[in-house]
Symmetry: C2
Subunit: 235 residues, 2 copies
């Protein structure tokens, strides 16, 4: 595996995550998705994941940056970071990415909802110790934030890599959940004098703010000037 593109290691009968007892939806099953196209598109559009794990008997949920390469998610941080050390120590974790697409306002309080796309993954992270894979992860983490950035920024030195902890988290067990569309009110509420509909929501980039003192001739790259998240098939 080391050094190889993680995609090469993936072999599956089909392009879906296998359902498991603990990830199967028991209610509103129509919202569940196991196909990897949906899972990957949500992971690629998101910028932050929330990682949950047990540490000393307590559950913690920590927001983290991440990047997907094939069916591996890379996490990274300072080698002294407690969350990363715990995750890299073999504790089972849950990694969730949620994209909010809209506020769904029904006539009745009861039927208010949200449109969203989320992915929940269960698994155990492992430390990346091979320098070639560490560099692949570092570059992927940059490109995930802004495609092309991995080719522009100064990549980490060996010394910087030694003070960084990079983890790989598997995209093998989990599922996506997607809600779209308007509110679904009860028949008897449809004539109420209450507005109903959807307020779309998006995470959007503003005008980039350049650091003072950049060398002459360094201009704002296109990925900063016109930053857009990749959008998947469900958008």
């Amino acid at each position: 595996m080391v050094g190889a593109h993680p995609d090469a290691a993936v072999s599956r009968a089909d392009d879906r995550l296998a359902p498991t007892e603990r990830t199967a939806l028991r209610r509103k099953k129509e919202r569940g998705h196991l196909d990897l196209d949906t899972v990957r598109s949500i992971l690629d559009e998101g910028l932050l994941c929330h990682v949950g794990f047990n540490d000393g008997g307590s559950t913690f949920v920590v927001p983290m940056a991440y990047a997907r390469v094939g069916d591996v998610i890379y996490l990274h941080g300072a080698a002294a970071n407690r969350t990363l050390k715990t995750l890299g120590g073999g504790v089972e974790a849950c990694l969730t990415v949620t994209l909010l697409d809209g506020l769904v306002l029904a006539r009745s309080a009861f039927h208010h909802s949200m449109n969203y796309r989320s992915v929940m993954l269960l698994g155990t992270a492992t430390r990346v110790t091979d320098e070639e894979e560490q560099l692949l992860a570092a570059r992927s983490l940059l490109d995930h934030v802004a495609p092309g950035r991995g080719g522009d920024a100064r990549l980490p030195t060996s010394s910087e890599l030694r003070s960084t902890l990079i983890l790989r988290f598997p995209v093998t067990e989990g599922s996506a959940k997607v809600r779209t569309g308007g509110p679904i009110d009860d028949e008897e509420d449809l004539d109420l004098d209450v507005w109903a509909g959807v307020i779309p929501f998006r995470s959007v980039a503003g005008r980039p703010v350049s650091e003072p003192g950049l060398p002459e001739g360094v201009s704002v790259p296109d990925y900063a000037e016109h930053h857009r998240r990749p959008t998947g098939p469900d958008r």
Copy 2:
């Protein structure tokens, strides 16, 4: 407590959360905040929280809507919802809200970062069984999404409340983390021909989409037409 405004039950020597062993920051302590103004403003601006908990030996992280009233957070969902039943069963949980404010692009890969504001709370949820408090929670959950909505929508009937599970989660143990500002590059990287700066990020509302068939005379309310999140002192 039942029926009373939750604020009434809060008594604190000062307006800060008490630091505890498991919530204290060990690194980058300057990012930590325990004052309730910061904690509350982040909770009020966010729309989704991520709740982590242990169920049958596995950790799960689930996105949920919420609302803050005083120092109580209300969660709600169908009475048959497994996550809510587990949380209401007395399991300790972690509730995290994260607002992404910007992508921080440094000259070096190593110093890339994100600007964000997050709140992590630890505690145990309890079921709300008093109908008066259930209605307060239902109205707060609407007003959290869009201030004023709680007065417009048809509030839940007793029958609807019986098929809903409403939980209260305490704002007592936890902390906020805030990163602001530009990248902090190493001195020797400042002359590199690499753009550096911040791409600001916000979650923004688009044009509301009205349901077809609304009764004549029902117009788009201001909170949908010009939806804005409340912004706190750190913005």
